[in-house]
Amino acid sequence: MKPCAFIYHRPSGLPEALALLAAHAPTGGRVLAGGQSLVPMMAYRMAQPSHLIDINHIATLQGAAMQNGALVIGTTTRHAAFKTGICPGPLGAMLGFVSSHIAHGPIRNRGTFGGSLANADPASEWCLVMVTLGGRVMLQHASGTRMVAAGDFFTGVMATALADDEMLTEAHLPWGQGDQWGFYEISRRAGDYALAMCLVVYRLDNGLMRDVRLGIGGAEATPRRLAAAEAILAGQAPTGPNFIQAADAAAAMLKPMTDHNVTALFRRDLVRAAVRRALHHSLNHE
């Protein structure tokens, strides 16, 4: 469990980093962010990068700020930075709550928002947040920039739209009118990747749910919004029976991932529980 040899680069500016990536990506060069996924994979030799381009020392890639109704998150913003509210209001509160489900303290101190998106683990909380809120990512390479919608960015289990020589530099997280949110995650141990999780966001209009966004993660190859469940809730009161209907719909439309710990049937039951509990959580954050 010692990594293969690699050459380490520590650029201090983005252009330099992009140039290094352009130069080395064709021969197995990779970005190193928090290292909390990449380094263990290197230790197991599942990843054998020839060059590592460490982006932790590029000051402009860190930190988050509101711009035009969206939270713009620099790629190397640490998970821990979200703990006490990275921005005011319900968005900051929601991100803080969700972040506490990612791994353990030491990992949250190093692991980054952008690294999680680039890593695209099906059970990553940040990937679920991006998809559910309809976020976008900025992808840059030495000669250009593009914005990609989160829903198009995640293409499979640990697979994304990133080209080898592209770097994810920012994530844009829009926050609509709604300020109701709920989140529930089921995992074996505290800090483990989710077996199933659900994030729901909506606004209340005269006691009825509007603009409902309901996403699930950890259950399919990529996080996904569940339109059928959203449709059941839209225009309805946030009540137990409605929540159960939505949860049943979510479970029914699932394309479950399975492994030796979780059968398809079990995954459906987990998703049903996660959806219902996230909806209840949206009413009571105690």
Binding site: M1, K2, P3, C4, A5, Y44, R45, H104, I186, R188, R189, A190, G191, D192, L195, H260, N261, V262, T263, L265, F266, D269, L270, R272, A273
Partner: protein
Amino acid sequence: MTGWVGRPITRFEDDALLRGAGHFTADLPAEAYLRFVRSPVAAGIIDGCIAPDGVMMITDTDLASVPPIKPIIRKFGYVPIAQPVLARGVVRYTGEPVAAVIGQTEEQAEDFADLVSLNITPAPVCVTAEAAMAPGAPVIHPGMADNIVVQTALTTPGYESANAKAAHRVVTKIRSHRQAALPMETRAAHAAFDAATGRVTLTCTAQMPHLMHRAITAMLGMAADELRVIAPDFGQKMSLAAEYVVLVWAALRLRTSIAWVEDRRDNLMASFHARDIAIEVEGAFDNEGRFLALRGDITANVGAYAPYPNTAAVEPLMSFTELPGPYDIGEYSCAARGVITNTCCSAPYRGVARPAITLAMERLLDMAAMQLGMEPAEIRRRNLIRIFPHTTPTGLVYDNAAYVETMEMALLAADVPGFRARQHAARARGVYLGLGMSSFCERTGYGSAAFAARGMDIQPGWEHVDMTLDGDGVVTARIGASPHGQGLRTTLAQIIADAVGVVPANVRVVHGDTDHTPFGWGTFASRSLVISGGASLIAARKIRERLLQQAASYLEAADADIDLRDGYASVTGTDRRVSIAVLAQVHGGFADDGFYDPLGTFSNATHIAMVAVDIETCMVRVERFIVAEDAGRLINPMIVDGQIHGGVAQGIANALLEEVIYDETGNILTISLADFLAPTAHEIPAMTILHRETIADATMTGAKGLGEGGTIGAPAAVLNAINDALAPLKVTINEMPATPARLHAALRGTK
């Protein structure tokens, strides 16, 4: 008169560890590093193993003169099986070492290992005991008729008639899935050749440095003086690692220092596993719920090879001998077998087979209680042994204890009626709470007679302590046993301090180095405090006698008037005193020794777990845990509590989380800590620990062993609690770990 024994003094061991200043084998620098090339398949014939030019590789061909590891038991139909230190033409489990490559760094050694081309023609595999016992199953070791490596059976003369009288009969099957001990420090070894003396010093993680020394010198044809073993260690290392033999061979051959540190993947894949056991038990009870007879049928999947010194028989034989536990079961009929499979070999791990047999008995009693309409505590009250000494059907003699009283202590602390009320109220809200108990007794501190009864070629048992008192007033105890984190350095110091009359800080315990300690067997089987403590007490008392005489003549008083305490000898009722250091200077120091070989003693405990089962997500939370235990005299209550905390944490993990998983081809799926789930502080509740002290007259110190108890009792308590929680749903689970997937299958009736 109060002394040091019984006080919760802080451990001498902790200061360096807490400051991060402890020494580890992997810290030692070496000239060369070794890496093993391991079999990627569970069974097959080796067609070739080729290293690229310039890579130094060791294979079985180089080790042709090294005999295989082949421990022997001369009873129970045991068939000795041989494990070549590197695979000899055939591989028998995924991860078996086939070759070793040598690099200048660990990284380079791993690069070289990746470059070796190993060709194996796969052969049919038996992964489970059922598959290995099926008619026509491939026989894994040549010379064996089938894959059963050991088997034994016993039916007491009165069994049939007692069984026939049963008013109630309860049968259950339990399954303990495979565990790994998961030491924080994996196996590691550093072998350094000294050109001046021609000696090799092997620093390694092992619980039995002297036995490692004996085994390795014999296998490599070395004179005893040519090897020094330094092995202070922690966990999983009771058995000889084939890898260590290769390392010493390489150091001798290359005349250099060479190191090997097992990584986590190799540790989970190819270090020792444990507790892959299935048990069927049938209880015959009278109308009052009293045992008339017990029948057991035990199958242990022991893996591909037999670890030295314990052999592949330890789990089935221990299960067979100790199944009845703390209960008066009347008549007994039991059959047990150990089955060779294409999996990593099984070796003793804290508790050995007892978490499984305790699960079997405790599930049986809970099911019987349910059938008879009794509270679980009541059926235990009626069956726990009350009269001591008690001889079991397999000939074990339980010494003085208070099993019922220990259980009542635990029940009182648990407030069972209060819990039942909460449970009832919670069920109405769809919340499923459960309370489970388990009682067990644990055979500890047993000497050579117990090992002789097993028919082992190697018969551990006694311990020897060499002791000196020098002119600086410091007592040095050189022990053959080997502390491995359980605080032995501190507890021995407390025992010796009282006996000699010094403060514990002035007791030095030297251990884990074959150059500086007398032969001893090491640490295992909850024996060290009992046996090494007894030998220490014997040696210390001899020194005390001579010190008293010396003090009497120095202070011109009668022996009987001398008080030895905390470094001084004084004349009772006067202010005349002299320091023990001065007495030692005058005398030219004192030296003596102690030898102790006890029959053994049984500690006991009752564990109670309270859990909440989420029937939607199938997650189980252990909310409270209570232990009432009786391990005789408490030498250091804080250390006792620490042993129980750690043991219970391992037991809860065994019940809910940890499992080694193979697929049907014998490929192992749990090779990282993302898959083999260790408990964290989040999963382990605060514990309530209560003590009884039935002073053991079977031991020198009055103490009984307790190192394994936490691990033994906790799984059954947790499983019983889950079953109690799910009783209204008529769902039972008798497998551990009771993972969410298994609970889900049980709840959904989809097995």
